[in-house]
Subunit: 242 residues, 2 copies
DNA sequence: TAAATAGTGTCTATGAGACATTATGTA
DNA sequence: TACATAATGTCTCATAGACACTATTTA
């Protein structure tokens, strides 16, 4: 069913009504691993409302006024906010939509519907965040501290749901590879699982599950060995890596 | 960190800027089972754009202008649209957010961010839909026909994702109980799994998995027997049922 | 040589799939 | 009695967890 001339005429003369509209924002739940701890990037709000409280980084969706340019996609808004807040090249960061949060009253200023995204930053990229970001008060906080923090807006609910999503994903998808450097050893990847799930992961059993990924071509051996204080470990890399 | 007087003063004098805002809509992917087929409720669009094409039912989010009344919650908007389109008591229908769809240009009229919801209607309630709905052209279409239909907007993408969600949920959650009447037999519930997953489900193995739910108190035996042309089956009910 | 950690092997319990068998109703 | 289907049982295989053991490097 292709667009008819009739429909084109309709669009050309279309006048949007002026029902009140909400603002649409994107919020980012950005995780990384530093010092063997799963951490979330939070910023201190410098303005009302919730001044001085911790909050998720984010921004507003840019909407165009014309029919030809309607503005940016939701995910583009998320990547733009990510780049602005962290200074990271957003194309190298894992990004996944978490959902829309649109309760009435969640922002006391005005009606805001927020679309939340989960982002995973590789630990080798995480250190540049605080230097490069335009938010001097951004910090990587341990997720274990989340329950005791009072976050702005409904950000506690959003971050809790994001944490759930990441924990489920580590066991069922390949997102763990977005929490290690481009090359990694099996013990390093096991450590990621252990830290995210907050439980000990048996080295032998983990290695067995991991070996299956080699046979299916998901990962492959990389050159070199990881030198430590004891026996060096084999280095691998994720095959579908940028 | 409680609201300070300072913050109250800020809110009292707050003036929202007038950046362009998108419209926010809710779209509903409503499933039921009729004639041993998983079906989706679609309506025929009577207006441009996509006139005469199939589309998901939905509606726009009601947004209040004042700070005290910001309008309805997203989920309330979804339930309201559900009730309006189907005539069903929306409180008795399973509803789950699927995600936000906000690509630029997805609605040719203007910028619309749509939050999609998945709804499951019990088959005993489904027949009243066409009579009660205000959309005379609403139809329960078999999901198998979806790929060959040209849906309006990005509704093909949304419905495909919804179908995935339901299929995953049938195997890992209790949503199958929202696709049978209040009481049901094991073979009837097995049929639901079979229809949703579009594959044969072994009666013996299914019964074994099902028995575990009795021991954990998820379901319980209901009075009576289901009389058929052969051996009657035991009737059960889901314990957390309204 | 000792310490530390990479890497392997084994045993067992659990759950899923395939499939055979029995039980109990209706026509 | 024939038939249909509910309900049970059995066998096998794949997988996960617990845990013992070996291998290899550095200090």
């Amino acid at each position: 069913m292709s667009r008819s001339a009739d429909e084109k005429a309709f669009l050309a003369s279309y006048q949007p009504n002026d029902c009140p509209r909400p603002s649409v924002a994107v919020d980012l739940v950005i995780f990384t691993i530093i010092d063997s701890q799963l951490r979330i990037l939070l910023i201190v709000r410098k303005e009302h409302p919730f001044k001085n409280a911790w909050a998720l980084p984010g921004g507003f969706l840019r909407v165009g006024e014309s029919t030809t340019d309607q503005g940016e996609d939701l995910e583009d808004a998320a990547r733009r906010a990510l780049q602005g807040e962290t200074g990271l090249d957003a194309s190298r960061v894992y990004l996944e939509q978490l959902g829309a949060f649109g309760a009435s009253g969640r922002d006391p200023r005005m009606r805001v519907v927020s679309v939340a995204y989960v982002a995973l930053v590789r630990p080798d990229l995480a250190p540049i965040v605080k230097a490069g970001g335009d938010e001097a008060d951004a910090q990587w906080l341990e997720v274990g501290k989340l329950p005791s923090l009072e976050l702005a807006f409904d950000h506690a609910e959003i971050s809790a749901k994001a944490l759930e999503r990441v924990r489920a994903g580590v066991e069922s998808t390949t997102i763990a590879f977005d929490l290690v450097p481009l090359t990694f050893t099996i013990p390093e990847l096991r450590q990621v699982h252990s830290v995210v799930l907050d439980k000990v992961v048996d080295p032998g059993n983990f290695r067995r599950k991991f070996s299956a990924l080699i046979e299916t071509g998901v990962i492959e051996q990389a050159p070199g060995k990881r030198i430590t204080a004891s026996k060096p470990a084999t280095v691998f890399r994720f095959v579908n890596r940028a």
